[in-house]
C-alpha cells in the first residue's frame, strides 16, 4: 500500500476532530498491521471503492467514543446508545468522506460506502492487504486510524 494513501485520512481526521474537540490533534507513530487483526472496544468501518479500493477503520476505547460522541452532540454521553452510536458512525463518514475529497484532488476518484460501527473488542478483522496505522491523539481520547487500500488494477486497466 502506498504511504500517500493514509495522509488524506490523517488530514481529514485532524480537520473533523478539531472542529468537535476545539483543539488540533497530535499524530502518533506510523505502523504497519497484519492483514488480520482484532478491533478495539469501538470501531468504525468504512469501505472505499473506485480507482483505489479497500477499507478504513477507526478504532477507539469506549471512553473515547463516549467523550467524542458527547462533544459532537453537545451533551454528556455515559452510554453508547443509538444516538451516540449514530454520532460516532457519522464521525467515520465525515473523516472518510473528507479523505476521499483529498484523494480526488490527487487524481484518485473514489466513493465510500455508508460506515458501520462494531461495538465490542476482539472482533477479528481481515483485510486484503496489511493496514497502515496511525494513532491520532485528542484531548478526548485517542483514535486509531487503520487504512488498507490498494490500486484497483481492473478499474485502472479499463
Amino acid at each position: 500500500m502506498k504511504v500517500d494513501f493514509i495522509d488524506p485520512f490523517l488530514s481529514a481526521a485532524f480537520t473533523v476532530l478539531e472542529m468537535f474537540t476545539g483543539e488540533r490533534p497530535q499524530r502518533g507513530q506510523l505502523a504497519i498491521r497484519n492483514s488480520t487483526f482484532t478491533t478495539q472496544q469501538v470501531t468504525i468501518v468504512a469501505g472505499v471503492n473506485g480507482v483505489i479500493e479497500g477499507v478504513s477503520l477507526y478504532g477507539m476505547s469506549l471512553e473515547s467514543a463516549q467523550k467524542i460522541a458527547g462533544a459532537m452532540m453537545g451533551s454528556q454521553v455515559t452510554e453508547l446508545d443509538d444516538m451516540a452510536t449514530s454520532a460516532i458512525c457519522e464521525l467515520g463518514n465525515m473523516i472518510t468522506g473528507n479523505a476521499t475529497t483529498l484523494l480526488s484532488q490527487n487524481g484518485y476518484q473514489v466513493d465510500i460506502t455508508p460506515p458501520s460501527v462494531i461495538k465490542g473488542p476482539h472482533v477479528e478483522v481481515c483485510t486484503k492487504i496489511p493496514a497502515l496505522v496511525v494513532p491520532v491523539l485528542t484531548p478526548l481520547g485517542n483514535l486509531e486510524i487503520n487504512v488498507a487500500l490498494e490500486e484497483n488494477a481492473m478499474r485502472n486497466a479499463a
Binding site: M83, E90, G97, S104, I112, P114
Partner: protein, 122 residues
C-alpha cells in the same frame, strides 16, 4: 408561516443535528427520511419548501434522489449536505439542479446561509 424542510440523512445523529439547527432558526422540519428512496416518496407526500439531503445513503444515494425529485418537480429546492466534496460530485449535483452543496462537518451558520439563500429568505 415558516418554511417547511425535509431532512434526509441515514444518520439519526445528523437528522437530529440539522433539525435542531433549522428549528432554532424558525424553520419547520416537515419530515425526515433515511435514504434516497424514502426521500422521493416523502417529498411527494409532504411537498416541502426545500430538501436538505445527504449523498452517501443505503437503498438510493442522494444525487439519484435529487434527480428523481427534480424530475417530478422541476421547481423543487434541493440542497446537498454531505461529507463528500469531490469536484465531480459537486458538478453533477449542480447540473442536476441542486441549489447548494454543504460539506460536513459544518458550522450551523453554513446550513442556515444555504437554506436561506435557496429559499430567498436570507
Amino acid at each position: 408561516m415558516s418554511k417547511r424542510i425535509l431532512v434526509v440523512d441515514d444518520a439519526m445523529f445528523m437528522r437530529a443535528t440539522v433539525k435542531r439547527i433549522l428549528e432554532q432558526a424558525g424553520y419547520e422540519v416537515a419530515g425526515e427520511a433515511e435514504n434516497g428512496a424514502m426521500a422521493v416518496e416523502r417529498y411527494g407526500e409532504l411537498k416541502p419548501d426545500a430538501v436538505l439531503m445527504d449523498i452517501t445513503m443505503p437503498v438510493m444515494d442522494g444525487i439519484s434522489a435529487a434527480k428523481a425529485i427534480l424530475q417530478s418537480d422541476p421547481g423543487a429546492i434541493v440542497l446537498m449536505c454531505t461529507a463528500l466534496g469531490q469536484q465531480n460530485l459537486v458538478i453533477e449535483a449542480i447540473k442536476a439542479g441542486v441549489k447548494d452543496y454543504i460539506v460536513k462537518p459544518f458550522q450551523p451558520d453554513r446550513v442556515l446561509e444555504g437554506v436561506g439563500k435557496a429559499l430567498g429568505v436570507a
